[in-house]
Symmetry: C2
Subunit: 195 residues, 2 copies
DNA sequence: GAAATTTCTTAATCTACATTATTGGCCCCG
DNA sequence: CGGGGCCAATAATGTAGATTAAGAAATTTC
């Protein structure tokens, strides 16, 4: 049941069976049903979540009521409101489920204890965070330098599996256009089958 | 001379004098003159750089020749092409100096050795990276949800000291508008002194 | 310290994308 | 089966910000 998360960890650090057992004992399983929330923007984020089944999304709502999606979290991904988790103040991220989803939760306090008990985890989360930072910067650049069309293509290239799974509305909110414009782009794209 | 960097580190981890000395011995000082490059986009990034004097900028050039600034690095800031540093492949970040600038360089290989020799550094760079990630996501959200006007205000709020220092052109490239439009915004802003 | 280069401003025109509105399909629930 | 939501498609109109151009101001260079 925790095979996925142990496998995820084993890609970066090597744990003894005892360490694995200790780590797993800190996790608590939870199921979030479709459209239910794991975190609301008024909450303080107290856990990191690892998705084992289903799909979560992290998004904010701006002053005009528009949703902006920061992250999708399919199985094998971590998700949290890092700002809120670090500062222990209310953040501005909502996390809800696009379909019924199973997660493993690691409490912030346990995570910090883990850094002391098994310093290798310091390394693990450093690496995870470094990779997230690289991805976040690439996306920032995409947003600044690419047209909507190119951002859509970039999304398709980067998340080929997610794309069938998601409503177009969600993809539009991720790449930063209205659903209407995404629809228009796709129909124009069908007309001229490009290169 | 390395007081600034030791102070920066002391905000997150506590080092013994011997550890400090060892760390400092790994650093090499370098001066980059105005308009000279610390890193070109065709290079593999082999160092993390800590700025002690002056100001660097990290930017990419898109297909149409426009510059997009990912980061300014005034004194007390770290800068590197994280993607290239991690993958040891050519990245797409240029780093050059806006004025004559002094940096302390830490080679990737030394940084990795440091993680073994003084594990506290694993923690230090984890925390630094976490903070960068939070900042990067906030900026991504700003880009997706705010108008150019609001992004300019957000920049002024966030970098009150930098703003006098920098050419408007640079600020425009950072917030993602043309210099012409930034100029227009500012003159409109003068006309109606806002609230 | 004058020429050369770069930067800033203003203004006219243009365009990628937003807004609003309408329609039809699909799914859920009674 | 029949109605109420939600989602996608299409299209008309609107707008934030880009593009282009050209002159003024500031800085760099020699």
């Amino acid at each position: 049941m925790s095979a996925l998360i142990l496998n995820n960890i084993a890609q970066h650090i090597r744990l003894t069976p005892e360490e694995e057992a200790h780590f797993v004992s800190l996790l608590s399983a939870k199921t979030i049903r479709r459209k239910q929330f794991l975190l609301r923007e008024t909450d303080v984020c107290r856990h990191s979540a690892f998705v084992t089944h289903g799909c979560l999304r992290g998004y904010t709502v701006d002053a005009n009521g528009f949703e902006h999606i920061l992250q999708f979290a399919p199985p094998g991904w971590w998700i949290a409101d890092m700002y809120s988790l670090l500062s222990q103040q209310p953040g501005n991220l909502n996390i809800d489920a696009l379909e019924d989803t199973d997660v493993l939760l690691l409490a912030k306090s346990d995570q910090e204890q883990l850094y002391h008990d098994i310093p290798k985890f310091e390394r693990f989360f450093r690496i995870i965070t470094e990779n997230s930072l690289v991805a976040s910067r690439r996306r920032l650049l995409d947003n600044m330098s690419l047209s909507a069309q190119q951002r859509y293509e970039s999304f398709c290239r980067h998340y080929p599996t997610l794309i069938h799974h998601l409503a177009q509305k969600q993809i539009a909110a991720y790449i930063g256009v209205t659903p209407e414009f995404l629809s228009k782009m796709k129909s124009e794209w069908l007309r001229k089958p490009k290169g």
